[in-house]
Amino acid sequence: MINSLFLISHSGDIFLEKHWKSVISRSVCDYFLEAKEKSGDPENVAPVLQTPHHYLISIYRGKLFFLSVTQTEVPPLFVIEFLHRVADTFQDYFGDCSEVVIKENTVTVYELLEEMLDNGFPLATESNVLKEMIRPPTILRSVVNTLTGGSNVGGTLPTGQLSNVPWRRAGVKYTNNEAYFDVIEEIDAILDKSGTTVFAEIQGVVEACVKLTGMPDLTLSFMNPRLLDDVSFHPCVRFKRWESERVLSFIPPDGNFRLMSYHVSSQNLVAIPVYVKQNISFLETGSCGRLDITIGPKQTMGKTVENLTVTIPMPKSVLSVNLTATQGTYTFDLTTKAVLWDVGKLNPQKLPNLRGSISIQTGAPKPEENPSINIDLKIQQLAISGLKVSRLDMYGEKYKPFKGVKYVTKAGKFQVRT
């Protein structure tokens, strides 16, 4: 399975290594660095590489490469999935998964990695279990530790490993018992030049934050579960119950977790919340071009569109842009040649507009294709598919928990072709 793990920074600096079997020299990373050099963009590095004696499987997250080395056949997704779990765990522990943070917390990272794999096979990947063994660092605790000589490593060993609900730690106690669920939907869409939808679908997740005492058994039901086409669950959800009754029945992990993710069946029409009127043209002569973009609300179900941002990756030959925005601010990144327009709230009375000129390198040919426009937005209090949670029941415990559901719609991979 996994022999070794190397963490490599964006610039190619190997700043952490960990071996679970015999030590593999870090020179093996040279093959990877070579491939990275060749592909230019870090996104373009092939996740699975082959070297004379080893196989390299890597992921790219938070400007970091997690590179694992293996010597024998292993399902590549197995490793990829695990590496993402590692990254998720770091995120969970340190609030961020970046080079600086990992360097600051090397010891905790090392302790975590030690617990997560044994001989290259995943041992404990549930964050609840890990947190019992190794406490996440907080400022208060580090102060206390230095004063008292205490440590971050749990004195008791995890009980979750052994129980039938390995995802939940035992003896959870809260004074305020609360359970929050966020229904977050993302619209993936491709719109063509004229604004017609080439492809659109809705993907959603239910993120939960459950802080309940004891061993609560929860049942979450939906008003319209038929909307959900393809679902995947946290292991705590009883699948049979979903099959027969279309309710989510589970003993929740403690804290934050993703309860389910779903896909809304393609029969349903997807409401597209905004429309884009755009005109990007490059002149045949004079090495310049024009840009004019207006955004307006389309199907927003009466809600306000917020956090609207527009990203336009310009062709490489573009030198600079000179634009004026009626609302929000725009920036032009010289290295990636991307125009980023942060619009903010969408005001239906006064539609935001961005217009101006683009200048191109002299002598460079007119760009063949107009850049596509990527849109990011957020609509609070709305699940665009119309999914609604009908009720949450709790069994197994006596107290009355505080319950809440929040709906958010976001743009996923929302692209307008021009």
Binding site: S22, N44, Y55, E368
Partner: protein, 1130 residues
């Protein structure tokens, strides 16, 4: 084993002694060494040598480690771990660190472990110092301490302690704590990699751990199995079913490993479900054909029966498609791809497409696998075509893969959509991607002849593109396309010749030159001119262009030597002295071939035929079949990627990786399936007759023999239309019942030992009372039949004891209870602990092999509501043959006494042959229990072809969702003129006389027909004794009673005539009575099972009081009216 163990023990004792001795001596020598070093160092610092200064950093760490303060030690260890993490050498601190191995501080201890594991290999002697600490910890009462001691002990790669590790592993393998056992499974692999000679001993441990029933251990031990002895497939046999059943509860990483292992296992143990598919389809179509005896015979000779264990695996992995772990989903997908019958593979599609939403790396691997799948099975992914549309933000390798899949999916129907999409991609800023798109267009053009011209025109337009790569790629693709149909495309060739000067990419230039040469006769004026230009620039061209120039020259020389003789000679001379030996070789060869000389061989006269032979058009193949990631070169024909198991590293890299286990081909004949049987420890039924000697499975023997009998019957009865249809019905339901029972077998097999009436009683209140009382006096046959019904109803509407639940509910719960067992309902409501228990207890059991099994199993597994009725396994299949007998005589058991005077059943017209364009249909109610679902009313339909041509594919068309639940008859493949066939169907009227409307379709036409039942047909007879009748009647007084005084025709006054009339109207049973003037009939409604009691009290002369007691008041009044009429008439 025992002998081995004791010898091992002595070995260990010996090793231990050496270890301890060496440790002692080390400790002794350690001290002075240290002090020496210290002295030297203190000296050095005093002397202030710069080289030593560098070491000073580690020196103060050593000091910190030797201090008495825990916090200092901890701080030092943290800094050391930081050094390790950066890959810096900290091995010189080993002696100082190893002393702290027994520290009380857990964090300190853990960090010491980290250090120890990292450097033990380098400092073997010193590492031995720590061993005794771990040995002590191995005996600790705390399981976690035991486990972590074993973990570290086994991670220390010091060969001398192998015997100690071996002993520790063996002991841990029988530890009470599953967590420790799991750790021992991990330790097995570590020991194996350290010393492969231990293999035999380790296999013993693996064998032992494989038997472990804990879900915690299962995954880890399979990993060990795969690493140590993947070829010992025989170890899996007895654990196969356990692994299948535990699978859902194993942690996700273990699931991946187990699924992959089981895939490999299944390929060696079961026969292929693939090749039989075709045969099966054919036989199904032929099934209802009246002259298909022959084919049926064939079918019996070659049945494909899926091994129940094979099915078990497929069924138990299916829920895992919903896992959040992408590796698990992929593992299940590959399992289905490699193991399931072809038509079931598509259930994985949706889940795979879902994975595309995941991280970029996941997308990459999943797309690779989809690409391979889509080459073989277009249909699987076609509905999700749009999910593969490329976004400009995708990484290049993702784009290429998506493009590949889109090309694979292209067919006549969707090509226009795909081409429109491709048009967008061609304009992409990513030029490599644009080039790949052009290739894809070329592939579409060759594969789908309808669009070849469109594509070609589009590509010609691209020739004027500004981008060089795009133009070059277009030229190359056009060249290939033109080869397929050169005649019409002179213009394109001319156009390309014009562009020639502007094209600089060698491959494109070479392609144009080749085209010129190949079709030089079509462009006689242009070709020599191109050659002239080439002669000028020959020396500065790329090799590939030069080769094609030589080619062009040779071809022109043969066709048009007058104009080009000199040019050719000039070029051949240039080529003769080229730097590249390929070109020199080619030139020499061409010269010999075309220029006649005295020495030139016999080939000269064939030169024309050699050079201008018509070339076969190239096949534009999926670039993905070859190596992906490199530039796709369609003409490099590499081995197909699909030789590898999907989802593996080998598949991803398209090379055979170390440790890749080849997936074997299906065996021609399945190895003995009985090896998977487990001895009866728990109350589990053995299904193989070979092991059926045990006391318990007695009932099973009956099961088997009866089923065979039934099969025979079916075979012999296939001649007559009627019996073939009815027997097929019963056989299908029998196999489905076996299927459904298989999971709950354990319980039901116990039940079957008890008397059947017992089980009826325990299951439902009022039902039981009736069935019980009745069973006492009736014959054996009825005795069995009735509890069956009661149990059925009980199973169907579990919440409703009276069996009066609404129909919708019954059917929905039927779906649940049919495919899943009791364990489901447990697991739903109870804690997972219980669930695990039941799962562990449930074992694969008896599945009777019926030849229709395949299709029925499918239905069970893949549609939420199986159309066939799941019967509880309480009654054996002998009952089914009984039922069969009943259906043949067209009377139900309860009516046997009374129905003899009852004449032929009334038939109704369903479709007149005038409206039906020759097809006529009649139906009647055979009044037998419906075999498809107990809540359905059986309807016999006789289809007659009164036209002069044969009718094909007579079947029931789609029904609107709101209509009644109808179980269709299997489509009648062909009906010859004048022939008629009788088919049976089931309709759930939900106890109302609402007509069932549906479409009767033939191949050409469809006719709307409707079946309206008389109220009496919605009943089924219920047999009860008079006292029971009276007590039931008392419960149904008041609102539930309807009565009327009726006048009867004089002919009807005799008791027999009355019952005859009543029975002709309603399907009820006679209740024997000793009162002369009272006649009683009892029945139940078919759908909800509500009692309907009819009492006829004879008054003077020809009047009588007719009373009907039932909850269904509407039915009562309708029945009353019908009866009144019947009795009045005659």
């Amino acid at each position: 084993m025992n002998g081995g163990f004791s010898s091992l023990r002595s070995e260990v004792a010996g090793a231990m002694r050496t270890v301890l001795v060496s440790a002692e001596s080390l400790q002794l020598t350690l001290k002075p060494e240290l002090t020496q070093e210290e002295q030297a160092l203190t000296h050095a610092t005093a002397g202030g040598k710069p080289r030593e200064n560098l070491k000073a950093g580690n020196e103060d760490l050593k000091e910190m480690l030797e201090s008495n303060k825990e916090s200092l030690k901890l701080e030092a260890m943290k800094r050391i771990v930081q050094l390790i993490s950066k890959g810096k050498n900290a091995s010189d601190l080993f002696p100082a660190v190893v002393k702290n191995v027994a520290s009380k501080n857990i964090e300190l201890k853990k960090l010491v472990y980290v250090y120890l594991v990292r450097y033990a290999e380098e400092q073997q002697d010193l590492a031995l110092l720590s061993i005794s600490t771990f040995q002590r910890a191995l005996k600790d009462p705390n399981q976690f301490i035991r486990a972590s001691a074993l973990r570290v002990l086994s991670s220390i790669r010091v060969p001398i302690i192998v015997p100690i590790m071996m002993l520790a592993i063996k002991e841990a393998a029988s530890d009470l704590s599953p967590y420790v056992r799991k750790t021992s499974a991990h330790a097995i692999q570590k020991l194996y990699s350290l010393d492969a000679d231990q293999k035999e001993h380790l296999i013993e441990v693996i064998e032992k751990l494989l038997k472990d029933k804990s879900t915690l251990v299962a995954g880890s031990v399979v990993v060990a199995f795969e690493e140590v002895c993947p070829d010992r497939i025989d170890l899996i046999h007895r654990n196969y079913r356990k692994l299948c059943n535990l699978l859902v509860d194993v942690e996700e990483w273990g699931q991946v490993v187990i699924i992959n292992m089981l895939t490999r296992y299944a390929r060696t143990q079961f026969t292929s479900p693939w090749k039989e598919d075709g045969i099966f389809d054919e036989s199904e179509k032929a099934f209802y054909d009246s002259d298909s005896e022959e084919k049926q015979g064939q079918r019996e000779a070659k049945p494909y029966i899926m091994d129940p264990d094979h099915r078990l695996l497929l069924r138990n992995t299916k829920p895992l498609l919903q896992s959040r772990n992408t590796a698990v989903v992929m593992a299940v997908a590959q399992l289905y791809w490699h193991l399931s019958p072809k038509h079931e593979v598509s259930i994985v599609t949706k889940s795979l497409v879902r994975l595309l939403r995941s991280h970029r790396e996941v997308q990459y691997v999943v797309l690779q696998n989809i690409a391979t799948m889509s080459i073989q099975r277009k249909g699987m992914f076609e509905p999700y075509m749009k999910s593969f549309y490329v976004r400009s933000t995708d990484a290049t390798h993702i784009k290429t893969l998506k493009l590949e899949i889109l090309t694979n999916l292209a067919n006549e129907a969707n090509i226009s959509t795909i081409l429109r999409e491709f048009q967008t991609y061609v304009k992409s800023q990513d030029k490599a991607f644009a080039a790949a798109t052009i290739q894809a267009i070329g592939r579409c053009a060759t594969n789908i002849s309808e669009v070849t011209d469109t594509c070609l025109n589009g590509l010609v337009l691209l020739l004027s593109n500004r981008d060089e790569t795009v133009v070059a790629e277009s030229v190359v693709v056009i060249k290939k396309l033109l080869q397929t149909q050169p005649t019409q495309h002179c213009d394109i060739i001319k156009h390309m010749a014009k562009l020639f000067d502007n094209i600089t990419v060698p491959m494109a230039r070479a392609s144009i030159l080749w085209l010129m040469g190949e079709y030089c006769e079509r462009v006689p004026k242009i070709a020599p001119d191109v050659l002239r230009k080439m002669a000028k620039t020959f020396t500065s061209e790329e090799d590939i262009v030069k080769l094609q120039t030589v080619n062009l020259a040779a071809k022109l020389y043969l066709t048009n030597s007058k104009q080009t003789k000199l040019l050719t000679q000039y070029i051949l001379n240039l080529g003769k002295y080229d730097q590249n030996y390929d070109i020199r070789d080619r030139t020499r060869f061409i010269r010999q071939l075309i220029v006649p000389s005295e020495k030139s061989g016999a080939l000269n006269k064939y030169a024309r035929r050699i050079l201008l032979a018509s070339k076969p058009a190239p096949v534009l193949e999926s670039a993905f079949k070859g190596q992906l990631g490199q530039t796709p070169l369609p003409w490099t024909n590499e081995m197909d990627r699909d030789r590898f198991q999907l989802g593996t590293l080998s598949h991803s890299l398209n090379i055979k990786t170390t440790g890749y286990q080849e997936l074997s081909d299906w065996p021609a004949a399945a190895p003995d399936p009985s090896v998977r049987n487990v001895e009866v420890i728990e109350p589990v039924q053995e299904w193989a007759p070979s092991l059926g000697k045990a006391k318990k499975p007695k009932s099973d023997d009956r099961f088997y023999s009866d089923d065979e009998e039934e099969k025979e019957k079916e075979g012999s009865g296939s001649g007559s239309e009627d019996s073939s249809s009815s027997s097929s019905g019963s056989s299908s339901s029998s196999s489905s019942s076996e299927e459904s029972s298989s999971e709950s077998e354990e319980e039901s097999s116990e039940d079957s030992e008890k008397t059947s009436s017992d089980s009826g009683k325990s299951l439902s209140g009022s039902e039981a009372s009736s069935s019980e009382s009745e069973s006492k006096q009736k014959k054996k046959r009825t005795k069995k039949a009735m509890p069956r019904k009661s149990k059925q109803t009980a199973a169907y509407s579990d919440s409703d004891e009276n069996g009066n639940g609404p129909v919708g509910k019954t059917s929905s719960s039927s779906a649940e209870s049919s495919s899943d067992s009791e364990s489901d309902s447990d697991s739903d409501s109870d804690s997972p602990a219980l669930q695990k228990k039941t799962v562990a207890k449930t074992k694969p059991k008896v599945e009777v092999k019926s030849k229709k099994e395949v299709s029925l199993l499918d239905l069970d597994d893949f549609s939420s509501a199986p159309p066939s009725a799941p019967k509880s396994s309480v009654f054996s299949s002998s009952l089914l043959s009984d039922l069969e007998g009943l259906s043949l005589s067209n009377v139900s058991s309860a009516m046997q006494v009374t129905s003899s005077p009852f004449g032929p059943v009334k038939t109704h017209e369903l479709l007149h042959h005038m409206t039906g364009k020759g097809l006529s249909a009649k139906y009647h109610f055979p009044r037998q229990p419906c075999l498809y679902q107990p809540s359905m009313v059986a309807v016999q339909v006789i289809l007659t072809n009164s036209s002069d041509h044969s009718l094909e594919e007579i079947h029931i068309g789609d029904r609107s969702p709101g209509s009644l639940n109808v179980h269709c008859f299997n489509s009648v493949e062909r009906l010859e003129p004048g022939a008629s066939v009788s088919v049976s169907m089931g309709i759930d009227f939900s106890d109302s006389t609402q007509a069932a409307n549906f479409q009767l379709c033939t191949k050409e036409d469809q006719f709307s027909v409707s079946i309206q039942p008389a109220v009496g047909e919605l009943l089924m007879p219920s047999t009860m004794k008079e006292p029971d009748f009276c007590s039931e009647q008392k419960k149904l007084m008041g609102m539930n009673e309807t009565s009327a005084t009726i006048t009867m025709a004089t002919a009807n006054t005799s008791k027999q005539n009355i019952s005859k009339q009543v029975l002709s109207v309603a399907n009820v049973g006679v209740v024997s009575s000793d009162q002369n003037n009272l006649q009683r009939f009892a029945g139940r409604t078919v759908s909800s099972g509500a009692l309907v009691l009819v009492t006829l009290e004879l008054r003077e002369s020809s009047t009588a009081l007719l009373t009907i007691n039932t909850e269904k008041t509407v039915m009562a009044s309708m029945l009353l009216r019908d009866l009144k009429q019947a009795l009045f008439q005659a």
